[in-house]
Symmetry: C2
Subunit: 255 residues, 2 copies
């Protein structure tokens, strides 16, 4: 009676040495055989970027029982694409990305390299989940998320996910998790996004910064509300971007 | 009686010197006052990437009556974010991105820097449209798209677009446009994505390439079908990634 362990592919956008991914590996190590293909350094804000103009390479970092870690010179999306053709002997049963140092809720999911890896897994019909914590610190604490992460993973391995849908999970910075809320993406916009400085040679340059303006801070069904109020948020996320509700309206434009 | 001209912001991912963006500027120059903020070089495949770890700068390239062109060291998304805080005196009435050298239909919209700029415009409540032609040549022909582009722009200026919805327009490589079809994003996956080569020092490296496997080539309501059959495709595209149909199912998981 064979009891084959699930194959779990793990990536992130903070790089293979980040605390978050190494904590995630620790939390899930008994749930399956793990292959890590993660960027060789920070790739925050890389969205679903792919490396078009340069070659990409990968290298083995460590192989121990049930765990193999590779680092990759590309983006999070490149990591998933490259692992598929190189180090994976079969399609993974699950793809995990994170745990990201910093939340990826609301429209941040669009810029997120963590979610870039998740979206790529989903496009390849792998049940895919991104995990992020609302704490940018290099030494952020993740232990309060461990049990919820394991529960979500076990249930996803059991139930699967529909084609074209992946999960975006966000956690509060700290404290006991009050529960899990199924959410929608919070509406909002970034403001005051650049800080201007002047180069010694006299020209201006700009650092990306900014404040997120939540347009619906009171809406308890949004992901931002959930993790700001002590809950883990799960936002089911589609890789089919079609705005179906707009199709008939556009047809009526008679273009 | 003031007849204020629309303010049109234009960007792309092929860079400010590409033929496609300069053709687009030519086609729309009588439709409004134009500000261009485009990358200083190629940024294909940058998706909605933002520049997190480096400063970004911009420079004036040219200013003539009704047209101002800036180049920017960042990604297409950076271009839109930076123009908002620096060179734009008011919110644009329209954002255009392209014309891209190469199609951005189906799941390619997810990787596309052209669509990255469009999505950023949409997140900032600007009616936003991406234009792409199924021809990667640096000297691609765009003239066959001009009249359709103008018709789509005029209608969008007149009707506006709903919050959170932008347009992804793709054209055949050549030939008279048979008409405009309102489409959904084609389902498919990229295969054979990497070409392996060996470095003189003995290690392997990989170039991103690949074949798009269209999972529904016969479906006449998809964007790939449309531009492969001589039509311009318009895919209404949402920046709210929530898979609403999954919310109740996930609630039933009782996490």
């Amino acid at each position: 009676m064979e009891n084959k362990r699930p194959l779990i592919l793990i990536s992130n956008d903070d790089g293979f040495q980040a605390k978050g991914i190494n904590e995630l590996i620790r939390y899930v190590s008994d749930l399956g055989d793990i292959v890590v293909m993660a960027p060789d350094g920070p790739r925050s804000g890389q969205s679903s970027a792919i490396t078009v103009h340069d070659p990409v390479r990968y290298q083995l970092v460590r192989r121990v029982s049930g765990l193999t870690i590779y680092k990759c010179s590309g983006t999070p999306t490149d990591c998933i694409k490259l692992s598929k053709m190189t180090v994976l002997e079969r399609k993974p049963d699950l793809l995990l990305s994170g745990i990201n140092h910093g939340e990826n809720a609301g429209i941040n999911a669009i810029y997120s390299g963590t979610m870039g890896a998740v979206i790529e897994g989903c496009l390849n019909s792998i049940p895919s989940i991104g995990f992020s914590v609302d704490n940018h610190s290099l030494d952020a604490d993740f232990v309060h998320c461990a049990e919820t992460i394991r529960r979500i993973i076990r249930k996803t391995l059991q139930e699967g996910l529909p084609q074209n849908i992946c999960l975006n999970v966000n956690f509060p910075a700290e404290g006991e998790i009050k529960g899990v809320r199924i959410c929608r993406q919070t509406k909002g916009v970034w403001g005051h996004e650049w800080e201007k400085q002047t180069h010694p040679r006299g020209f201006d340059f700009f650092w990306l910064t900014g404040d997120f303006e939540n347009k619906e801070p009171e809406c308890e069904d949004t992901d931002n509300w959930a993790f700001h109020n002590g809950y883990a948020s799960i936002t089911p996320t589609s890789v089919d971007l079609t705005a179906y509700e707009m199709i008939d309206k556009l047809k009526a434009w008679n273009l």
